[in-house]
């Protein structure tokens, strides 16, 4: 457990119910250890607590009970220690409407104090890589949904953070761009020794990309935790797929 890069130790998260009566348990006693350099896919039906786990790793919400450590530290309590170390691709693009595409990509670098020229150059490189050359100066309202999501991916990746957290990063993309980005994402994570957690709805995406698949079941418990062998045979993949499907269709 001690060599884990991200570790959940009996982590529970409860929210006050909207009607004021008692607490709602969004994450229930989860223990999970993610090794350095691992690419992990988080699957589960909507409302099963994926985003809540994600927000806890990101340090945006605090566990109600249990211990969560990222790189040995508390992401909520040691919030600022993680500057430049965590990058997030949110489920919705969350672009700032008053900034152009390239300025949106630059925001993370700005927060890190990267000098203007280098900032511009890195942002430009990422936009080009994501097929957005020529749209640098467009405002978000002038971009399509898929393009906006790509800008938000560029914004996260441009910071070159060690931990990548992605909430359904490829779901808003068309087939071809999605496929290209998935491959690119896998390469990026593996070649640069990053640790990544991504949430997805797609079983195929999870099997194609991840080293490991964690399936959550309501009420927010781990129902399955399986490794995906690098050179899995088609039968192994099919077997994995049907096991995940069985849980998700319960």
């Amino acid at each position: 457990m001690s060599d884990a890069e991200i570790s959940f130790d009996h982590v529970t998260k409860e929210f006050p119910k909207p009607d004021g009566g008692g607490l709602f348990r969004a994450v229930d006693d989860v223990s999970l250890a993610i090794a350095p350099g691992e690419l992990i896919a988080l699957l589960g039906k909507t409302g099963c607590g994926k985003s809540t786990m994600f927000n806890m790793i990101a340090g945006l919400t605090e566990p109600s009970a249990g211990v969560l450590r990222v790189a040995g530290r508390d992401p909520f309590g040691d919030f600022n220690w993680f500057r430049g170390k965590i990058a997030i691709v949110f489920q919705n693009d969350r672009l700032l409407p008053w900034r152009t595409a390239i300025e949106n990509v630059e925001i993370g670098l700005e927060m890190l104090g990267v000098p203007t020229a280098e900032r511009r150059q890195r942002a430009q490189a990422w936009l080009t890589r994501l097929g957005l050359a020529g749209h640098e100066r467009d405002y978000p309202h002038a971009l399509s949904g898929g393009m906006r999501q790509r800008v938000s991916i560029a914004r996260a990746f441009a910071t070159d953070a060690k931990f990548l957290l992605c909430d359904e990063p490829f779901s808003a993309l068309d087939e071809i761009t999605g496929q290209r980005l998935r491959e690119e994402f896998g390469t990026l994570v593996r070649e640069n020794g990053k640790t990544a957690v991504f949430i997805t709805h797609s079983i195929n995406e999870a099997i194609q990309l991840a080293d490991r698949i964690v399936v959550l079941r309501r009420p927010a418990r781990i129902a399955m935790d399986a490794r995906v062998p690098r050179n899995a045979s088609p039968t192994e993949r099919d077997d994995l797929r049907s096991r995940v499907e069985a849980i998700l269709s319960e």
């Binding site: 990101a58 949110f90 700032l96």
Partner: protein
């Protein structure tokens, strides 16, 4: 729409008002409804004679000083209220209370509490504009989208960077709107505030016109303030068009 047509549309209601006034002036006593030609020459006269125009400058200065002070203090209070529930619960009711106090009451208080015309006027302008600024800035702060806030927060910015890159651009549209609204209110309050014994300013000049029963003069002085408000609003409008060019414009009206 062509520029000419738009200008005509904007001018139409004023032309109608002017027409009705002019008809009245032809049929009713001159001291009740003076001819617009006379009023025009008076307006021009005030513009061109510094000994008269400096009254307009003095009044405009009082409006700007009062609004500026109210905005700075209001923004600070709103930031505190947005940050702490205790501050919100403490300041909120006071501002609501202030809003209920008539401008004329503030005039009386100012005369009792302060010496000297300018401090009195500044105080009146400040307290009458403050609640609106506080509530407007607070509303704008509360409307900053939470998901954008968390996005920026996830990069762990300093407080100053968060303010400059997220908060300020997000609340700017509401702040400009607040200035437009409060400018109109302040130009109405200022003439009342000038009744504290000012020996200059549009309010003072209006009082003189009343004493000599000069309707054309009263109208001409009033128009000076109206013109100032129009110019200032036009200026804010220009800032808006420049600053908010990022906004999507629908081809349909709301």
């Amino acid at each position: 729409m062509s520029v000419a047509l738009r200008a005509a549309q904007a001018a139409a209601p004023f032309l109608l008002l002017a027409g009705l006034w002019q008809i009245a002036s032809l049929n009713l006593p001159k001291f009740l409804f003076p001819s617009l030609v006379d009023v025009f020459w008076r307006v021009l006269g005030i513009f061109l004679d510094w000994s008269e125009f400096r009254n307009v400058v003095a009044t405009v200065g009082r409006i700007v000083a009062g609004l500026g002070g109210a905005f700075v203090i209001g923004a600070v209070l709103a930031l505190a209220m947005n940050r702490s529930r205790a501050a919100d619960r403490f300041i909120g009711p006071i501002m609501t209370f202030f809003q209920g106090v008539p401008a004329l009451s503030w005039v009386v208080f100012a005369i009792i509490w302060f010496h000297g015309t300018e401090p009195r006027i500044f105080f009146i302008m400040l307290v009458t504009s403050l609640p609106a600024f506080v509530f407007q800035v607070l509303g704008a702060l509360r409307a900053v989208p939470r998901d954008l806030f968390e996005m920026v927060l996830s990069f762990r910015p300093s407080g100053a960077k968060m303010f400059l890159q997220l908060t300020l651009p997000a609340i700017l549209p509401d702040i400009l709107t607040a200035w437009k609204v409060n400018l109109g209110n302040a130009s109405r309050v200022v003439v009342v505030a000038e009744l504290v014994g000012a020996t200059g300013g549009v309010g003072y000049a209006l009082l003189q016109q009343q004493q000599i029963f000069d309707m054309a003069g009263a109208l001409a002085w009033t128009l000076q303030l109206v013109i100032f408000v129009l110019i200032a609003q036009g200026f804010i409008g220009m800032v808006e068009t420049r600053a908010f060019k990022y906004r999507a414009v629908s081809e349909h009206a709301l």
